[in-house]
């Protein structure tokens, strides 16, 4: 397929979310889900250079009803990873030499393909990760946003940078693609996060090997299809569904230049360590773009509007069963408001509806897999042993009967300061609440944490807002609102400290992580004359 340069792009605007308050939209989604169910299982094979490799021995399932198989998936090996890197390396010269505007046009066309399949993709995300409709829809919209946003950023980045000029020399600085990028993606934003990382790497001229989460290979296959269908050359993107093996092989491969990873803190640090080693045949330092866990704290000052705080906390902590790295985990409340907020929040947690993601209005769906249930159960046991459970939402018998991996949402108080539940990422529907003597005491607690991903503040004093904003180290501080739901271009997203490398996805600087600067200094003086 020949690529043609596109017309100048209109300014970026976020993809509209579906207006779920309209009955017609809900009907359309329900229909899309029925259509999807009629076509299960889908296929998510290993694809290198546009060709399938190996069989489909793996399965992805609906966490709410595990006997429903979403996709039969490939199980990429280390050899497959090596073949993918080799193919990506072969394709790199041509793809990186393609003008930025043409690469951007591929992303824009891929975004259009996702837009055309909006309802179907939301249904797929819902089934493969038990992500309820509003969040599943937002996932598709965010994937579209990343493609559209990075397309525009890349075109701008291709312009030479402004440098200091003096007579007799011509100085230019440009950004060049680094090489082969390995993208290792999580399941919790199964379209948006791989979509964002892959789009950023591709549009800056890198070729990409994508290793999706083993829980969500079908979503990754949909992303692959959209990009290839938009005219992306077969050599520019390779797909490696499977377990840990291909991911490990990619991290240590001498010809991988950039590793973009979103996932757990432990896995991220392991990647950083291994990527630091220069192995035989490797002629560069690897760059790791990593987004890891958090323990996100919301501070509630005495002058907060409790009417606003309760719904915002409920949504931040429990939507999608708390399985967002940005989710609220710990609330620190000014002592003057503690009793009132704890009581009202407990009453609200008890109203949470646990159930199948496909039911409109369900707040807390099944968690991703039995391993997650076990992990959360360990923290739940801590809550009961060391603290006071203020509220627990009921588990519907019917949902659990289908074998779904459901966990009861919990609000916990009275934990000792050193309890792991207050310091470790649970990644589930658990929220803790503690009184603090002042906003500064809360800031001290936040500052003592190794994590710094998101944070929240409820205060109606401009002075307090400015003070906390200056003190808090988090990547994103959300004031008087929920702390999840970052939108591309409006809320650049990425953690600091042990929560990540500090890059901000969906922000103006993100693409710089995928390029290297090249400067040319040319002497224009000939025989003492400036020519």
């Amino acid at each position: 397929m020949t690529l043609t340069a596109a017309a100048p792009l209109a300014p970026f605007a976020n993809e509209p979310l579906l207006e779920l308050r309209r009955g017609a939209e809900r009907t359309a989604l329900t229909q899309a889900l029925a259509d999807l169910d009629a076509h299960l299982p889908l296929r998510a094979p290993v694809i290198v250079d546009g060709a399938e490799r190996g069989g489909l021995p793996r399965r992805s399932v609906d966490p709410g009803r595990p006997e429903r198989v979403l996709a039969r998936a490939g199980d990429a090996s280390a050899e497959d990873a090596a073949a993918a890197v080799a193919a990506a390396r072969r394709a790199f010269p041509a793809w990186s030499a393609t003008p930025a505007a043409e690469r951007a046009a591929v992303l824009v066309r891929a975004a259009a393909r996702l837009r055309d399949r909006r309802y179907e993709l939301a249904a797929l995300i819902l089934r493969e990760t038990a992500k309820p409709w509003p969040e599943a829809d937002a996932d598709v919209a965010e994937a579209i946003d990343f493609l559209e946003y990075y397309a525009r950023q890349a075109v701008a980045l291709a312009e030479p940078r402004e440098l200091v000029h003096v007579t007799g020399e011509r100085n230019t600085m440009t950004y060049a693609a680094r090489g082969v990028a390995a993208v290792i993606a999580p399941w919790n934003f199964p379209l948006a996060i791989p979509g964002g990382m892959v789009a950023a790497a591709l549009v800056t001229g890198n070729t990409v090997v994508l290793k999706p989460s083993e829980q969500a290979p079908a979503c990754a296959a949909a992303l692959y299809d959209a990009l290839r269908g938009a005219g992306l050359p077969a050599g520019a993107l390779h797909l490696l569904p499977g377990g840990d093996e291909p991911a490990r092989a990619l991290v240590v491969h001498p010809h991988v230049h950039t590793i973009a990873f979103t996932g757990s803190s432990a896995a991220g640090r392991d990647i950083l360590r291994k990527a630091a080693d220069v192995v035989p045949g490797q002629h560069h330092l690897k760059r790791v773009v990593c987004e890891m866990g958090g323990k996100n704290v919301v501070i509630v000052d005495a002058d907060a509007d409790v009417d606003e705080v309760v719904p915002a906390l409920l949504h931040s902590a429990f939507a999608f069963a708390g399985q967002k790295c940005s989710a609220a985990a710990r609330v620190l409340v000014h002592a003057d408001r503690y009793d009132a907020l704890a009581e009202r929040l407990a009453g609200a947690v008890a109203t949470l509806e646990v159930g199948e993601a496909s039911v409109f209005g369900v707040d807390v769906p099944a968690v991703i897999d039995p391993e997650a249930v076990e992990r959360i159960a360990r923290y739940t046991a801590m809550a009961h042993a060391d603290g006071t459970v203020l509220a627990q939402a009921p588990l519907p018998a019917a949902a659990s009967a289908a074998g779904g991996t459901y966990v009861a949402p919990l609000l916990v108080a009275g934990l000792p300061a050193d309890c792991p539940l207050l310091h470790e990422e649970v990644f589930g529907p658990l929220l803790t609440i503690e009184p603090v003597a002042s906003v500064d005491a809360a800031c001290d607690i936040v500052d003592a944490s190794p994590f710094a991903l998101t944070g929240g503040l409820f205060s109606r004093s401009p002075a307090t807002v400015a003070h906390v904003a200056a003190r808090t180290p988090v990547g994103s501080l959300y004031v008087n609102r929920e702390i999840t739901g970052a939108r591309v271009g409006r809320h650049p997203f990425g953690g600091n400290r042990l929560s990540g490398g500090g890059t901000k996805a969906g922000g103006p600087d993100y693409l710089l992580a995928f390029v290297e600067g090249r400067v040319v200094v040319e002497n224009t003086v000939r025989h003492g004359m400036v020519v």
């Binding site: 308050r21 359309a28 009453g347 409109f360």
Partner: protein, 485 residues
């Protein structure tokens, strides 16, 4: 992509904004009658002017030209209930005014306005006094008193017993009331139960208290029969913690048993229950819940009940057809009351739509909205034999149009009810009563903390740049105010 219209709202002719007004229905003489009616109302309103409200209106008028100042004052009103003590109020005031002083105003600056960032003398003084230890409490006391005075204008009392004297006074003057309970947001089942219990208690208190009110035939009878003296407005969002925009059935199912209990008590006490409309997020839940309960056999004979219709929604004409269609299919001894309002969630609707990338669901042109209001008034009055039309507006032109349209149709004076908000429409209510029309004042009750969200909304409405009340207060010529929109 599939269509985005709601299944219950068939694609009707939605007037494009800014279009010239289509010709009104063929009811002769309406336009010609409006100036005389409007002028007479305006004169009568002048006789009932509250001098205290006039001073406040002038103050509001001044700050309405300074969006930054307006924001600071609203934010103080908003945070007041959460302030610990007077020094705390003073600190908040100072911090909010610092913000104003630190940046230029966002609005257009006209000659005579203060230069950017500069505070009017009293507020500048308050800001510096609030910084000093000795005078901080004083500033806090003054701030609290200011907020209390503003709240008192809009809120009739702490509870039903407290509000009863005001309700009686209005009744004696020929003005009926609808009582609305202000409260914190409902986030738990217990809070929803408590709201239901307050509603029932208010029904009982007002019912007992109003039994010996003097007879006021205009307020107690219309073309469909007897009208209750006791009238309660309820909010579905207070009856359930389960409202979700994407799942109207969930909230409706949860609120249904509580609303049913209120309806039963109202039926037994011969009181009226009016279900308020809220934001578009919850329209389907509110409408479906209300209509499905009123269709239940146990409520076929009563109580008198109603719903609210918002003219600012661009699909309002289609939505009104849904209500009228229901009324046709569902004969009740007490026909459905439909309160026609412009809508009080305009900012919310616009902001939410813009943030999510949706088509803004409300008219963004005031005149287009006013035209729609008149069209809907005509439709409602054409169906006065099917439903009870309630015209709730402070816009003199909209009200004068409704009166002219009522008379042109030969409808009796009691066939249409006019409604105003306490604190904003009191002179208009008096003028309407003097005109021999049935008028009802919407009276919120509750404490200051509870009332704040309501209060802030009313204040915003009152000082909005395109507000009719503001235009009127600032002396815009009457013939301009009465022009066809």
């Amino acid at each position: 992509m599939p269509p985005v219209a709601t299944p219950t709202a068939p694609a009707g002719p939605v007037p494009a904004e800014g279009d010239p007004a289509p010709p009104p229905p063929a009811v002769a003489g309406v336009e010609a009658a409006i100036p005389a009616i409007g002028t007479r109302l305006a004169k009568a309103m002048g006789r009932h002017h509250d001098p205290r409200a006039a001073i406040e209106a002038r103050m509001m008028d001044r700050i309405a030209d300074r969006p930054d100042l307006r924001a600071a004052i609203f934010r103080l009103v908003d945070v007041r209930p959460a302030c610990r003590d007077y020094p705390d109020i003073a600190e908040h005031l100072a911090a909010l005014l610092d913000e104003v002083a630190g940046r230029p105003p966002e609005g257009p600056v006209r000659s005579g306005d203060l230069p950017g960032g500069e505070l009017p003398v009293p507020l500048g003084l308050a800001r510096s006094l609030a910084r000093r230890h000795g005078s901080r409490t004083l500033v806090g006391v003054a701030g609290a008193a200011g907020v209390r005075a503003m709240a008192g204008r809009f809120i009739a009392g702490e509870d039903a017993a407290d509000a009863l004297p005001a309700v009686r006074r209005l009744w004696k003057d020929g003005i009926a009331t609808s009582v609305d309970l202000l409260g914190e947001a409902t986030v738990s089942e217990a809070e929803a139960d408590a709201y239901r219990d307050r509603c029932i208690e208010v029904l009982r208190t007002l019912s007992a208290g109003s039994a010996r009110f003097p007879a006021r035939p205009l307020l107690e009878h219309d073309q469909h029969g007897e009208l209750p003296r006791v009238n309660l407005s309820v909010k579905v969002s207070a009856l359930t913690p389960h409202l979700r925009a994407g799942a109207p059935g969930r909230g409706a199912a949860s609120a249904a048993p509580r609303l049913r209990e209120i309806l039963r008590v109202a039926r037994d006490l011969h009181a009226h229950v009016h279900v308020d409309m809220e934001s578009l997020d919850h329209r389907e839940a509110v409408r479906d819940l209300t209509l499905s309960l009123l269709a239940e056999p146990e409520f076929a004979a009563g109580p008198s009940a109603g719903i609210v219709h918002q003219a600012y929604l661009t699909d309002a004409a289609a939505e009104l057809e849904v209500l009228l269609g229901w009324a046709r299919r569902t004969p009740r001894a007490q026909p459905l009351s439909i309160r026609l309002v412009k809508g009080a969630y305009w900012d919310h609707e616009v902001v939410e739509a813009q943030q999510a990338g949706w088509t803004v669901p409300v008219f963004t042109d005031r005149r287009a909205c006013d035209r729609e209001y008149e069209r809907l008034t005509d439709t409602l009055l054409d169906h006065a034999d099917l439903v009870r039309p309630l015209i709730a507006s402070h816009n003199l032109r909209s009200v004068a149009h409704a009166i002219a349209a009522q008379r042109a149709r030969g409808l009796e004076p009691d066939a249409v009810e006019y409604q105003v908000l306490r604190g904003l429409g009191d002179p208009l209510a008096a003028a309407l009563a003097a005109e021999g029309l049935r008028v009802r004042t919407y009276c919120p009750i509750g404490d200051l903390v509870a009332g704040m969200a309501y209060l802030v909304r009313r204040l915003l409405e009152n000082t909005a740049n395109d507000s009719f009340l503001r235009a009127h207060a600032s002396g815009t010529a009457l013939d301009r105010l009465l022009e066809a929109p």
